[in-house]
């Protein structure tokens, strides 16, 4: 029973935690491509800034991942 609840908790945690970063990263990518289309000369700089921004947006998803990994393998 405990085992089952652990897996359920990890699944719910990861599923809900992936929602926010998914929306956020899509927004970042969309805006960056808009900016690149408007100003192709700056594309390289915008792309590297986009990657850093995405990695930071992703961090809430990564927290959910860490929590569910700890639930699965440590607790």
């Amino acid at each position: 029973m405990d085992e089952a609840i652990k897996f359920l908790a990890a699944g719910i945690c990861m599923g809900l935690g992936a929602l926010g970063p998914g929306i956020g990263e899509g927004f970042v990518a969309g805006k960056a491509i808009e900016a690149m289309a408007r100003n192709p000369k700056m594309a390289d700089k915008i792309f590297s800034n986009m990657l850093v921004g995405m990695a930071i947006t992703e961090s809430t998803g990564i927290y959910a991942l860490v929590v569910s990994l700890i639930l699965l393998f440590v607790v």
């Binding site: 990657l51 850093v52 990695a55 930071i56 992703e58 961090s59 990564i62 927290y63 991942l65 860490v66 990994l69 700890i70 393998f73 440590v74």
Partner: protein, 272 residues
């Protein structure tokens, strides 16, 4: 299939467990030393491949640092070593398990090599280094301004009319939030790095363990993905610690200059 958050213990020296990730961290450090001495011995006006790579990395972070310190090249040079070595260490240790045959070296049924950044303690240690550097530099610049940055009692002294009381309480509350934010930086920096690298490894193990057919070609795109995320996470860690250190430095410097201006104004007012 064996996935564990805690690394395996290789041996015990004087009561201290030497784990596989600790051993790999030392190995990566030696590799870095070897690389640096190799590049240094072969410095030329017409650069070779290794020199171009080293110059590219150093130049990238140098430009960022000069920008962060508002064009102050001397300060940029002072922090360049820390930031570049953080980046190189994290980058090489993220990609370490990709090197062929390192995963086949086994002693007593335990893998000798494991990516140091897939161990939570080592990423926390790296984040604490950033935290300590940014705060110790701020304290050494001006201890009172550093405390004043977090405990904002100063605005109580500036109350002139009733509307300022609310502002003063808000400032104190914001100071408490700053303390929490400073501690959260350590957790967010370390959890981001650990989560990405460990998740990459777990994903490959799970894909390879699904069935016999998914063992051979299928994990290749996931390896590519974890290579990319290893590079990006190393970059993000270095850039974020750069911005934490320079941001703290700049706020304290501004506060010190503000204090000097206020004192000068008071002197003028006294003189007139």
């Amino acid at each position: 299939m064996n996935i564990s958050v805690a690394p395996d213990v290789l041996m015990t020296i004087a009561g201290v467990n030497v784990t596989s990730s600790m051993f790999t961290a030392v190995f990566v450090t030696l590799l870095l030393f070897a690389f640096v001495f190799y590049v240094k011995a072969k410095l030329k006006i017409v650069p070779g491949n290794a020199q171009i790579a080293a110059e590219g990395v150093v130049g990238f972070f140098y430009d960022q640092l000069v920008q962060a310190y508002g064009g102050d090249k001397k300060k940029a040079k002072r922090y360049l070593g820390l930031i570049v070595s953080l980046f190189l260490f994290i980058f090489i240790s993220n990609q370490f398990t990709i090197i062929p045959l390192t995963q086949s070296i086994v002693s007593d049924g335990v893998n000798v090599f494991r990516a140091p950044t897939s161990h939570f303690s080592s990423t926390i240690a790296l984040a604490i280094i950033t935290f300590l550097v940014s705060n110790v530099i701020a304290i050494s610049m001006s201890p009172t301004k550093w405390i004043g940055n977090f405990i904002k009692i100063g605005s109580f002294l500036k109350i002139r009319k009733p509307a300022d009381i609310g502002q003063a309480f808000l400032d104190v509350f914001l100071g408490v939030l700053d303390i929490v934010g400073e501690l959260a930086k350590v957790i967010s920096l370390s959890a981001r790095l650990f989560g990405n690298i460990f998740a990459g490894e777990v994903m490959i193990v799970v894909i390879a363990g699904l069935s016999t057919f998914t063992r051979y070609i299928i994990p290749v795109p996931f390896y590519a993905l974890s290579l990319l995320s290893g590079l990006i996470q190393a970059l993000v860690f270095a850039v974020l610690s750069l911005s934490f250190i320079s941001g703290m430095h700049n706020t304290i410097e501004e506060a010190v200059e503000q204090g000097k201006e206020d004192r000068a104004k008071k002197k003028e007012a006294m003189a007139t």
